[in-house]
Structure formats: structure tokens, C-alpha cells
Symmetry: C2
Subunit: 336 residues, 2 copies
Amino acid sequence: MAERWGAGTVTFSARPRVLGHAAVGGKKESEGPLAAEFDKLFADDTLGEDTWEQAESRLVTEAFSAALEKAGVDAAELHAVFAGDLLNQCIASTFGLREFSLPFMGQFGACSTMAQTLLAAAVFVDGGAADVCAAVTSSHFCTAERQFRFPLEYGGQRTPTSQWTATAAGAAIVGLGGRGARIADGCIGRVVDLGVTDMNNMGAAMAPAAADTLARYFRDTGTTPDDYERIVTGDLSAVGGALLRNLLKKEGFDLGDRYTDCGLLLYDRKTQDVHAGGSGCGCSAGVLCGHLLNRFDRSELSDFLFVGTGALMSPTSCQQGESIPAVAHLVHFVRD
Amino acid sequence: MAERWGAGTVTFSARPRVLGHAAVGGKKESEGPLAAEFDKLFADDTLGEDTWEQAESRLVTEAFSAALEKAGVDAAELHAVFAGDLLNQCIASTFGLREFSLPFMGQFGACSTMAQTLLAAAVFVDGGAADVCAAVTSSHFCTAERQFRFPLEYGGQRTPTSQWTATAAGAAIVGLGGRGARIADGCIGRVVDLGVTDMNNMGAAMAPAAADTLARYFRDTGTTPDDYERIVTGDLSAVGGALLRNLLKKEGFDLGDRYTDCGLLLYDRKTQDVHAGGSGCGCSAGVLCGHLLNRFDRSELSDFLFVGTGALMSPTSCQQGESIPAVAHLVHFVRD
């Protein structure tokens, strides 16, 4: 049974854990500082498929299959799969997981999806609704550009605050037993909108949501940033990360040296031309299900907060002059 | 704690219930046979907003607010909101619920969303992750037409198998206590794709998913259609409903007189020019949170299966020649 510490802040008593995890990536990810942390890297971003969308679905299939294998779990043993992505109607997830014919609940949290699917999986396992679940998400630079921005062929210039959508997918199998990272507790994000309208500055749009979730979580649990080894946001990158630090300082919380962001870890900003850093569902999913959980498995990390961050606009809402609402979901991983 | 009867088939021991429910609709819904069952009807489908998308968000706000009021629950008491819709990046839900600043988990199940959000809410309440949750969804004829089909101004002819996307929203507040409809158990749908590619025949694309869920549910629970007063699918309408009957007959289950579909209940096909019937997230949400749960409250209905049906394609996937995968989630309501 779960116990609540506050609205949306939940602790899990049945001790759900990550039974297996995997990350796959594309060409740029293979050239970045975390290349060695991926289970599979594809030098050709089409993955041999006919369309970018099919390529993204393949990333989903590959990450999911690898996570199952590493967990030693057959697909047929899963009681629920939680998955979603940035594409309209979440087709990367649906088509990428279609062949497995599993109980499926599509999730939409934009780039916060990895955290959201993990929270959903933990709640289902903790409450007995499922013994084993999967949490899966993806993004692809080329599908995201053509859907949210410009056709690739247009070759538009990118602003300094813009981020680079990761071509990557991550998957985690969540269940009971074993010695994997335990999902101790978490916090469901609220939709926060401070009126940012610049689609090329998603970090700024998402920082207030991350600050809201972290501040609520610290207060609900009676903890401070010092109580955690690492605090890692999903894809605030350089601009949003600095804003988050300031917003939390005003709330009395100093993130200090323990704070970083998946968008800053995934690429080398000096040499990889990603401007403010990485973004996309696959950014936080790839870094968590590769790098961070690998570090956990290597005993380099024992207790950390993973805060998925998502911007909830659509091209239509932006064209209609709407500001960009955002959400951030938090998952607390521990060793014990 | 939940107990599983099979992969995806879950029964709830903590006895989650509908504490309040509400449905709102537009002009065509106000002219249909269920007009009297809506909490609010809008003669002007813009609801006074500047865009169709903003109008759909208003439907969400109105249904959610009315359900809270009828449940006697303050928005601030909610521990989680599950919502989603058909629009790209689910903006109807996000923007419609943004002002309430609540823990929010976006769901994407296409037109099955009402059932999916109810299942998620029931699992969260049952497992103690939340005391009170909301399940909300919507659709709007004009937003759906321009996103999935043609600009309204084009005035394209519709095929006989096509359905009419409802302009409606539904919301249900789920928690413990009271005398509302109890969510006894449910079944998470699997992604099923039998290769249908006709975007104007969604009923045919979704019928196999509904058959898969119902057959699994009957087998997992050891029941037959005769064990339920009513079995109501979300939006298979005339074409898909007939297919569902046939598919289940082959599996040894006769739906008989107890079967109907929200898309057939919402409109009068003889006079309202809706072709095969109604569809959209708002179709099943409006009929459930209006008509069906009203009938429950009037003691006209005590034990029924609600099977939300969703087609998981996007315009992009269809343009790329993909077939249409579908999903169907089941919720079992009882009186006790």
C-alpha cells in the first residue's frame, strides 16, 4: 500500500524496484560523453526504416526488448506497459510496442514521460494491480523537428536558447524483489504556466514546474537537497537549469553541487552544437536508463532524485498565442 | 490492495467509487435523445471562445467543475487528475485543467480515455496512492475534423461508415465512501491491429480490440455476458458494434440484447446525419458521465460493463501507409 505525504507525494511500502533497464541512441548520442552507457547505438538515424517515425518506433522496440532481456523477464509476464512520446497521438510508443500485444496504458507527459511512466508503474506494482510493469519512452530529433518546428530540409537557424531533441529511447522493468534501484517514493507534478511563449526556450518554460515539484517534495517529506546524493532534472539544460536554481533559492532550497540535468550530461556542448543542451523524452530516458541506473548498478550512486520535465504545448496552441504549460514528475531511487 | 485475475484484469478490494460525475455537450448533443442527461449544453459550439481548441478546453473545465460540485469535493482535495484527449499533445485537457494547479498525469488512450482514466484513478485510490482522483476527457467535432480529416470549410462528403465526433466532455470523481457506482474491477486493453487502414471506418478498426478485452475479461473472471445487466462500448457505433458481436460469437460469447454502444445512444441516426453513429473521447465520456451513471443514480441500472474503445493512429501514421492499431479498456460498475 502506498502512503501519502501530501497531495501527489507518495511513498511505496511494497518496495517496487527496477528489475532491468536499457537505453538505445542514435548517431549524435554515439558521439557524446555518455556513448559507452548505451546498450545499443545506431550510426544511421533511420535505423534502416522508411520513415523517421518508424525509426523512432524501432528505438522503442529495441530499448524495451533490451530491458526485458536484462531483467530476465518475458514480455508475456508483464501485467501493464506504460509508454508515451512526443509524437501526435503517441505513435512511436503504440507502433513500437504493438507486436508485443500487452496490456497498454498510453501516457502523455511530453519530456517528463520517463518519470511519469515510472511513477505509474510503481503505483500499480505497489498496490498489487500488477506484479511486473514496463515504463518506456522515446524521442527522435528528426520526428520532433518536423512536427514541432520546421522541415529538416529548410535548414532553419536555431536560437542560442534552443535545445537538441535526443534520438534515444529508454525502458525500465518495474517489479518486486532483486537488488535493483528501489523506487522509494515520488511526486506527481502539477501543470505550471508562468506565461513563457517562446517555443525555442523550453528550459525556461519548464523550470517553474521543476521548482514547484521539488519544493513541494522537500516540504512534504521534510527533507532538503542535502539529503540526496544527486538531483537530476530531465531536460532543463543550461538555461532552464540556471532558472531552477534561482527559483528554488527563493524558496529556501540550495541545490548546490549535487544538481545536474540529463540534457547537459548527454552531449558535449562545446563540440556537439546542441546550443543549450539536450531535450526530448529520449534525453531523460536515455540518461536515466543508461548512465544513471548503470552508475547505480556500479555502486557509484545510491540515492538520487530524478525529475522528468515536460512542456505541454502543441504547435497549434503556440500558433494560437497560448503560453507553454509544463509539468515535472519526481522519482526517488534508493539502494537498500 | 488490488488483486489480479489475469494479466491486466484487476479487482479492487478497497472499494473505489464514483463520488460525482458530470457531462457537458454542444449543439448536436442538445438535439439528440440524451439531451436531458447532460449537466450543461452549449447551443454555440465555440462556447464564446476564439478557437475550437479553446472551446474544447472550456468543455473540460465545465465538466470537471460540475463533477467536483456534484461530488461535494474541492479541487484542492484531489490527489491526482487523469485526463487526456484526441488533440495533438492532449492540449484540451492540459489547458482546460491548467488553472486548477493539481497533480496531473496526462493519459493517451484516444477515444478509450474515459475508461483508461477511470482505471488509473481506481488503481491509485485502491492502492492508497490517492484518496480522491479525477478522470476527465473531451472531444470536439471541429477540432477533430481539422486535425484528423479536412478543414471544415472544405465541406468534404463523409462515407457511410464514418462516425460523428461528439462535442462533449465527461468527468468523474473517484474516491472511497458514499453510495455511488462502485468500480468493482476492470481490464486494461492490449494494442490490437488486424490491418484495417480506412480512417473513415474506425468502428471496424476498434472492434477487434473490444472483442479481445471482453473475451479476456470473461475468461479471467469466469463470467459470461449474461452476468451483466448492460455491456456498453465507447464508440464502435453501427459498423463496429455488429463486428464486435460477430467476433465475440466466434469466441463463444453471445452479447445478446444487453449490448449497446455510446455512439448509438448519443444521437438519433435517422434524423441527425451522423452516419454510423457518434465517436470521440467525449462520446463515451458524455454518455457514461451523463446517461449511464445518471441511470445508475436513478436505480435503473445496477451492474454494467463500460468498454472504452480507442483507435491509436495519427494522420502521419495513416499517410505513411500504416494500419490502425486500437485499444479497449473495461470498467465494471456495480451497486452495493
